[in-house]
Subunit: 364 residues, 2 copies
Amino acid sequence: MVEVGSNQRRTTLKDVARAVGLSVNTVSRALNDMPGVGEDTRQRIKAEAERIGYVPNIHARSLVLGSRRTIAMIVTNLFNPFFAELVSEAESRATDAGYTLLLLLSDESEDREERAVAAALRSGVDGVLAVPVSNDSRAFDAVIRAGLPLVLVSREITDLHADYYANDNVAGMRMTTNTVLDRGATDVVLIEEDLQISTVRNRIAGFRLALEDHGIPFDRRNIALIPTRRSASVALPWLPWQAEDAHRVATDLFERGRRPHAFVLGNDHFALGLYVALREQGLRVPTDVMVIGWGDQPFSRYLDPPLSTVALPARQVAANAMKRLLHKVSGGQGHPETVIIEPELIVRGSLPRSPALIRGGTTP
Amino acid sequence: MVEVGSNQRRTTLKDVARAVGLSVNTVSRALNDMPGVGEDTRQRIKAEAERIGYVPNIHARSLVLGSRRTIAMIVTNLFNPFFAELVSEAESRATDAGYTLLLLLSDESEDREERAVAAALRSGVDGVLAVPVSNDSRAFDAVIRAGLPLVLVSREITDLHADYYANDNVAGMRMTTNTVLDRGATDVVLIEEDLQISTVRNRIAGFRLALEDHGIPFDRRNIALIPTRRSASVALPWLPWQAEDAHRVATDLFERGRRPHAFVLGNDHFALGLYVALREQGLRVPTDVMVIGWGDQPFSRYLDPPLSTVALPARQVAANAMKRLLHKVSGGQGHPETVIIEPELIVRGSLPRSPALIRGGTTP
DNA sequence: GCTATTGACGGTAACGCTAATGTGACCCGG
DNA sequence: CCGGGTCACATTAGCGTTACCGTCAATAGC
């Protein structure tokens, strides 16, 4: 069995140099496939380095090269599978390009976000990929001041002049809302998280645009915001709670005598609680009430009835963002760019098969 | 607006030293709260460093200190919320201890696992926290050979002498199986992933123990293994597919005339597909068939009926593992230790309220 | 046959930081 | 009044690599 935690001195370039009787310099050039070394010498050096178990000291290399070949990714949480997918794709792309990924979680807290940014800078990363907590640019100003490439994903910061990659929340929510309106709903309720982020703002904007499209006046009562639970200044958009809160919000509506024809949601997890609330009210989906979720979670197609939802191009967004970031990291230029990708509506049993199946909302 | 990607030279200790008219060394000691600096001088130095925006160069510091204060975490994927929670907790603990977390994904592929380990070593991390892909120790031998602290989480490698932290899969599955047996089931089917990992092995062991507890002979037909989908040698335990595969496996059983009294599952996602299969067969939960899942996913309590399942102490496991790793990283000794935590059965509507409600399995 | 040119290699200086060792001023006791 | 100790700082030596220049021989060109 190999001994753990041995404290033998690591073999360095100097050791290899001594072993082959050449200079440190030549050995370095040989191992890095730099010109200026005879081919046979190069092979001999490589063989010897392998033999005595030489592993380059990344710290020294980073110091002289000024790069650690590492990307920091700052994400609010991993419980939202959308973020998990973003991180997953980003890791894969970074690895393929010979970079590693430093993961920092901000937990929807501006405090922690600031600390994450500080940690990223301290760690000497080559670039930062971030899903910001809010519209406040303060934390990320530090990144820009440090001269580090920065790319934002999924959430925009309005007055920050940075690259931004996301899916189209405006068009997406406009599409879902229009879908239920086209099918005869006139009283639609949007359930959303109460977070101060562009994602929510844009989805609300899309929702209002759809109402406009159909000449329906917007009322504040068309939107139900689910307050974010916080603990010690850390937001907790914990998925079970989202379902629970959606259940409560919907039940409140019904108890106040409201009876919407359709719900469009900012999150598939809201549908879990909403479905229960509807069952409790004896309302049937989609004949009494239409429901469209957001995010196409794995469970959504297995609900009863299967949940219509919006599939988000998470991998594509992350891939584009990382590609752009790596381009900037390796000295690439160009004005900050914004790339917004259209999401896709997935129609399932929670929508009536054909339009205009619901009229007036109440079944006779 | 701040210019992005500027190439101004970073301010170094020397700049601070010149600004305050002191030596580099004194500035270093002042900023690191080392003795040998007058208190007023220290404050003056700190203020000046802050003013001119000094950020220590981690590369240089790492070189001289021989550490980057970074932990590598190698995980198979982030789609399984259990792993997402492990990573989340690990990141939090590492951050609290002044470390950063390098995330590497192995995608259930031994190839990628080996590359992840290599990347971790190249990156000069101080320790490795890993969920291994298989029972093969080869990849992690390299970690031990490099003298790096290694802690395994959630999956064990039998012949690797390393610390290991997990939840008790044997006891957990024994408990769930005993629960349905206690309530009168005699024909129980376990649905599991077909992965060569200790997790699955142990859950199967627990399942068999429960059968023994009840004097029921074990038959190969008591276990339905769901083959892992692979693409280009990368396993894809993608959650929607797990549900789909469970649906298929269950339907196959029914079509071959099998009619189990209970299903115990290795994963809540299997329940999604199973529920659909049961509905298609006109079978009711829990009166006709009992179901217990595994992992307490957010959606599980919102299924119809709510899914009984096993809640896993993911955060606790990760916290213990990271604590142990950080202990070893800072030179701590001790024999490799194994800590196994009991999971908790959560009883919901997919189990009959009182034992012995089902007899013989068929309702009259 | 003598000078340019090329190729293979060595010497040395960074990179920015910390740690070990020096140095001078000051204080204190005898 | 002087020796020894203490404090506040400076000087210097690395850490292991890569980059920039030399050097020296072999070869090519006229």
